[in-house]
Symmetry: C2
Subunit: 578 residues, 2 copies
């Protein structure tokens, strides 16, 4: 079915993702009916190691920009970066109302203010008692439990039936903070749910995810037994966990010092908005830590994922200005390493042990509970809502596939389960469902100070530079007289040389000299041509000799014009942003 | 105590590692008494992502080379790469007898033959009935269970008492293959053990490691239920696992095709030496796979760790010449991803799901059991042997630290437990133990075709090149007349440019020009000096502008001498190997 062409007999609701499928990160889900579009979440994603130098990745919203007038609003399920992080970039392109719970909007407000976009933004409080009515679509929500307060699931009521989006969730029967709104969820299920979009993150894990209360109990044990200082690292956004640390600190007479910008911010916003209660006098300034008796101190810090510039990592490296680790310190990693961070975290733990700390980490002591449900949580959600159609979201492909298996186990027809990819458009109504067209769902790479079109050439450059180093071949040419004045000279970086035998540099220089002189004799005028031929000749030559493929950069300097040829076909033709 | 100086009253045995402590890999342990040295294992290590372009890392044996005449032999605990992998390199420097069990020597033989070193090597069969007597030291061994057949623990009897080295082990009460020699171990404990060196790999895991038999049962279930083809990936060296696959295949009427060089080699050597029994007619050729009915095929392949060129990875990418994945295929990952490989493995699994395969992986189905003992296995070994001194080995620091905790729990005095690093020399006898001198325990990096001294400069270069790209600043200078003839010109690679505003390239060029003209006016003759000042000026300037730290490479071309200054302080002063 073509976009925009509607069959006179059947209306369909269109559901698709611009981010969040086949990945963890940059969640953005779109529900479209006739001339109305509702967006759920606007997140960012952190790149993996195969994108060196890229800070984050955001969804491409060109589809939404093209249909600006149809977009009624962005509904935010909670305040994690993978759900709100791309707003500062997206808001520059489409400025629509943002709906969210109190803490979510508080975090969004801080972000937009930092980006200078707050003034023109419309932030509308949205909670479980609210209904937002558009012409065809009504949007409401229900409370859920997650690892940050004020998480909600979204209900989009359409003329074909309700579509439920769980947001990130788990079921916690003894939560810190408000309970999941079971009654509302059950009522939705009873009335009938057309389609369910549900969080697939932990679909590979059996059983239920543990309660936050178990962690609280474990913390009390640790705080009671630790004889020296406690250093406590956790996800900064886990306000509930921080409340439990505060409670344990108060119970066992420890003052709290906070290190790490994101951690300080959360305590600030959290207290302002009433999400964290810290009795007066509990906090101490960083510089007071030294003066306190050791058993009366707990240091809450960033670094639970081994982030190299975070407080705990610097402490482990002995590079923190204010805190030096002392033998007898207890360090708690109240977290779970995200795959990809495991090696960094392990190294920090090794280093802390070497410095004489007692380190508590891993699964042994209930010091962490995930914010995402496991298989039984997911099956419970499916049972409560009994959707006709099921779309697993928020997961890498295998997580989505496993979640689909669970749905089938619980009774959803296999043909009504759709494991999709970003950009696949699902058309549904009461009678049928099919995947129609594919919308381009590109990614935008953000680096340094601004959004850059990093593009594949620059990234491939970087990867190549890393793997086998590079060879620079410089020569000075008088282009008026077609004469080679100086060079070619070979300079290398990132090469491994072995001391024995052949002078490969001299060989390379000789070879290039011969080639270039030949080309100049033929009055070849084009720099690009000369350079391309040098690369085409030298690359296989080098590989034959040493089985390595360094990047080869020929540089031609013209003495007459005092100017080096600018390569128009590469990144250097673009200019810097100030 | 100085090396070589012995106190007239007290003799000590010296124990140290040249590799294997504070790391997983390149195991090499040394026991020295008076004029005798016995070495246990000679492994290699695979680099992590922070060493791009390096193939493997081997221990530096300069200490042993300097004392060549004292080295009586290298005793090999088993045939894994991290225990025998550096032999082809080390044997070039010291040629001493190699002792090992049958399969171990079989694998060593193949390695040395490939390296052209077999003819001069002395390979001496060594098993649990053997005693090798030197002047002061006697060496014997005992059978253990591990994930490769013929694994042994080593006993070095010294005048001060026996030293036991466990090799890699777990306790398996229902093993495939011979049982652990409990009786011998218990007897050793009864007689008294001076020091125990024990495998720490899984010291963070509670309980016992599961039996290989559980895996066999799980495989039978999978082979019975799978309706299409089975693709089975596991560690090539796990001969017991391969035997279980063969048994399941035979039981459920499936023919076996083997893909992947290391896998083919293991089946070949394994059958030759009698470690794998495969009934005639079980194997089929790769090209016969297509013609078999799907439910009668199992494909055993490499790629369980997501290695990009391994068979399964190429199949997942659709790049395998002979095997295309068909929906309905069952893929079994009979393995556990080594930390650092998790992302690669996850990506392969995602891809296989996308191609319609049913993928069995992870902890759900008992499809894998580790070859290393968990906490209870370790405590059992400690209880059986009751050593006076304890040295945890074969682990990253936190694993060693945890293993020490277990030893203390079991009753070894804390002051008699030594968590050491490579090169720390432990001096022990019946009365005392202390860490004395530190031997240099450098690492040797192996790249491409030969052993290269990669060194830190080249590696840092590579890392830097990758992260933020690079800027090349080229200029042509007449050094006789101290004149800047051409440039400076800025060329970049791996940079992200943002299209708007300031021409940072022009700014950089202007800045360098000013600086260099200044230096030339002052008659600065030294290239190194000029370049260093350019870097020192430009690096902070670039960072202030765009928060990036690209590598900066100033290049000075002398037109007069037609020669670019060779940087003597960097890798370029070394020459290539042909």
């Amino acid at each position: 079915m073509l976009d925009g062409v509607e069959n006179v007999k059947k209306e369909h609701v269109k559901i698709f993702a611009l981010g969040g499928l086949d990945e963890i990160g940059k969640n953005m889900y779109v529900i479209e009916y006739k001339d109305e579009i509702v967006v759920i979440d606007a997140g960012l994603k952190f790149p993996e190691d195969d994108m060196p130098g890229v800070d984050y990745i955001i969804p491409d919203v060109s589809y939404l920009v093209a249909k600006k007038d149809k977009v009624k609003g962005i509904f935010l399920t909670h305040g994690h970066e993978d759900h709100i992080g791309s707003l500062p970039y997206i808001m520059k392109e489409i400025n629509v109302p943002l709906y969210g719970e109190k803490l979510t909007l508080g975090l969004v407000r801080a972000k937009l203010e930092e980006a200078g976009l707050l003034r023109q933004a419309k932030l509308i409080p949205f909670s479980n008692r609210d209904q937002v009515r558009f012409k065809h679509l009504n949007v409401s929500c229900f409370r859920t439990n997650h690892s940050i307060p004020d998480s909600i699931g979204i209900v989009v009521d359409t003329p074909e039936g309700p579509i439920v989006h769980t947001g990130d969730f788990k079921f916690d029967f003894t939560p810190v903070g408000p309970k999941t709104d079971f009654a509302k969820i059950a009522r939705l299920g009873k009335k009938g749910v057309l389609a369910l979009l549900s969080d697939s993150t932990n679909s590979e894990r059996e059983g239920y995810t543990g309660s936050e209360q178990k962690v609280g109990n474990a913390l009390f044990d640790i705080f009671q037994q630790a004889q020296g200082r406690i250093l406590f690292a956790t996800f900064a956004s886990n306000v509930y966990r921080l409340q439990q640390v505060v409670d344990a600190a108060v119970r066992y007479n420890r003052k709290i010092a906070v290190f790490g910008r994101s951690m300080e911010k959360v305590f600030q916003i959290g207290q302002e908005l009433g999400y964290i209660r810290v009795p007066k006098g509990t906090f101490i300034e960083p510089d007071q830590v030294q003066r306190m008796p050791k058993h009366q101190v707990v240091i809450i810090c960033t670094g639970s994922q081994g982030e190299s510039m975070a407080a705990l990592s610097r402490i482990a490296r002995g590079q923190h200005r204010q805190i030096q680790l002392i033998p007898g310190d207890t360090v708690v990693f109240s977290s779970s390493p995200i795959p990809g961070n495991t090696l960094s975290v392990n190294r920090i733990i090794d280093q802390l042990f070497k410095l004489g700390a007692e380190v508590i980490y891993g699964n042994e002591f209930d010091i962490h509970a995930s914010g995402h449900g496991s298989q039984e949580d997911m099956k419970l959600m499916l049972q409560l809502l009994k959707p006709k159609y099921f779309i697993p979201i928020h997961g890498e492909y295998r997580m989505l596939a496993k979640h689909k298996e669970l749905a089938v186990q619980v009774g959803v027809k296999e043909k009504n389960c759709f494991v999709m990819e970003n950009g696949d458009v699902l058309h549904i109504n009461r009678e049928e469902a099919f995947i129609g067209e594919k919308i381009p769902a590109e990614i935008i790479l953000v680096d340094g100070h601004g959004i850059g079109d990093v593009g594949n050439i620059v990234l491939r450059d970087r990867m190549k530079l890393s793997d086998d180093g590079l060879i620079i071949i410089v020569m000075t040419i008088d282009m008026k007289r077609f004469k080679l004045l100086a060079g070619p000279d070979v300079i290398s970086r990132g090469f491994i040389f072995v001391r024995e035998s052949t002078d490969l540099i001299a060989e390379t220089e000789g070879r290039v000299k011969k080639l270039v002189e030949q080309l100049l004799e033929q009055r070849v005028k084009s720099w690009a041509n000369i350079k391309a031929q040098v690369i085409d000749d030298i690359a296989p030559f080098i590989y034959r000799k040493i089985q390595r493929r360094p990047m080869i950069i020929p540089i031609i300097m013209e003495v007459d014009k005092a100017k080096v040829e600018q390569e128009k076909e590469t990144a250097t033709s673009q200019t810097f942003k100030k």
